[in-house]
Amino acid sequence: MIYLFQVLNGIGLGMLYFLLAVGLSIIFGLLQFVNFAHGAFYLLGAYLTYDLVERDISFWVAMPAAAVIVALVAGLTEASLLRRIYKLPHTFHILVTVGLALVIQEFVIVVWGPLGGSVATPKSLAGVLIIGDFIYPYYRIFAICFTAVLAFVLYWALERTRLGAIVRAGSESTETMALLGYDTLRINTAVFAFGAGLAGLAGALAAPIRGVEPFMGVEALSVAFVVVVIGGMGSYVGALAAGLLVGVIQSLMATIWPEGARLMIYVAMAFVIVTMPRGLFGRV
């Protein structure tokens, strides 16, 4: 029973990891851009939710609003700063985006203080589901279902719609997209904003579960990279599979060997790098 419970927790965690990592992966696929500020967008999403809920705004408004604001911030940053450095070597990407992450993190500390806080679960989902021995919070069930539906809709949009085909085509060749009449700079900005918005949404969803604190972005970034490396850079299905894998490993290990829970996800990553350098579903 305890394992079932932990697997379920792991799936919930894994879906959040997926949401966090998929934007990083799509951005890398389209722009070959390594974005170390991705965790900071998650941080910002969580804090915006915290702030709005503190102001007595419903969580159901705060969550999408936080994601949209994060997307706007990311879009503006991309259009004004990041697009200038895509052509430079990856070291510059790291330098600039780590700097950006620190700026966002300091901004969070200045505005909301260094201590963090908690976000109440929305009233409609307060309480727990009890079936026999099985007890599980409603909010977590919601988070799993919500991200599962979102994952499916995103997959459908990416694989079955014209818009999705445009994003996939852009990942293959921006020059050809320009020759077909697409303003690739605008596509880049839109995709970057969208990917960052998903990270913001992950932060918003996570806030009632784990609370907020200024360094949560750093941890989120390392998890996102582990997921992207295991799943394969630029792969949607890979991000989903690896997110779930990492979530379940971490959650099971928390019962078996708590001190080693973090370590095991890096072991899993090292194992994948050694045996399949492109990741489970990667093509680059």
């Binding site: 014209r162 085909a165 445009i166 996939r168 085509a169 293959e172 060749s173 020059e175 050809t176 997209m177 320009a178 020759l179 077909l180 009449g181 697409y182 303003d183 690739t184």
Partner: protein, 234 residues
């Protein structure tokens, strides 16, 4: 007759190397014009300069009378100029039909059904990924995609290079159909038989300059020009 495309004295650079050194040419509506020259003469660079992939530093470009000098490639594409590049630019991970659908633009005179009528092989292969196509099929897909954008001027960079003779014939026939539908064509091609069969006029370019200009009849009659500018193997 009015001009579909006119360029006047354009100069383009790769970094510091001055590659296009004053090219002028025009394509009338409904015409097929070829741009000939040895490897490295500057044919591809001329097409890139016109499309905006390699914006010229000097000179002028007009598409259907509208000056487009200095426009980025996506804007010239939106305004009636299509370039099918030498490498074709097929999206290998998209299906043939996805390649076509993302190329459709409102107001284009071609529907997907028209395209499949000219290129029946593409309809047979529509569920395949672009990467699974043969070279000839990829070329057909590249031309089909360009047409779905509704171009007034189509620029083709060595469309039949490296293809088997039977496929070359098929593509030549398709290019004629496109011209007959009213699209003006600027063709870069090394295969002189193909050029002679298709084109109304020819320009020969050498070291980034136009060195000769002739109608098709003049060109076919004139061995010396061909030997001098295009060499024996051309």
């Amino acid at each position: 007759m009015s001009e579909a495309l006119r360029i006047e004295d354009i100069h383009s650079y790769y970094g510091k190397s001055h590659i296009i050194q004053g090219v002028s040419l025009k394509v009338e509506e409904g015409e097929i014009v070829t741009l000939l020259g040895r490897n490295g003469a500057g044919k591809t660079s001329t097409l890139k300069s016109i499309s905006g992939l390699l914006p010229p530093k000097r000179g002028h470009v007009w598409i259907s009378g509208e000056e487009t000098t200095g426009w980025p490639a996506y804007r010239t594409a939106q305004n009636g100029l299509a370039l099918v590049p030498e490498h074709r630019g097929i999206f290998g991970l998209l299906t043939v039909e996805e390649n076509l659908r993302i190329s459709q633009r409102r107001g284009a005179q071609w529907s997907l059904a028209d395209i499949y009528q000219i290129f029946p092989r593409l309809q047979e292969r529509r569920k395949n990924s672009g990467g699974q196509l043969s070279g000839g099929e990829q070329q057909m897909l590249a031309i089909a995609r360009a047409l779905l954008g509704g171009p007034k001027v189509l620029m083709l960079d060595e469309p039949v290079e490296g293809l088997a003779p039977i496929i070359v014939e098929e593509i030549v026939a398709q290019i004629k159909k496109v011209r007959d539908a009213g699209v003006s064509i600027l063709l870069v091609e090394q295969n002189l038989a193909v050029c002679a069969e298709l084109a109304d006029r020819h320009y020969i370019i050498e070291l980034g300059k136009v060195v000769h200009h002739a109608t098709s009849a003049e060109f076919i009659a004139d061995h010396t020009v061909r030997d001098r500018y295009l060499g024996v193997d051309a």
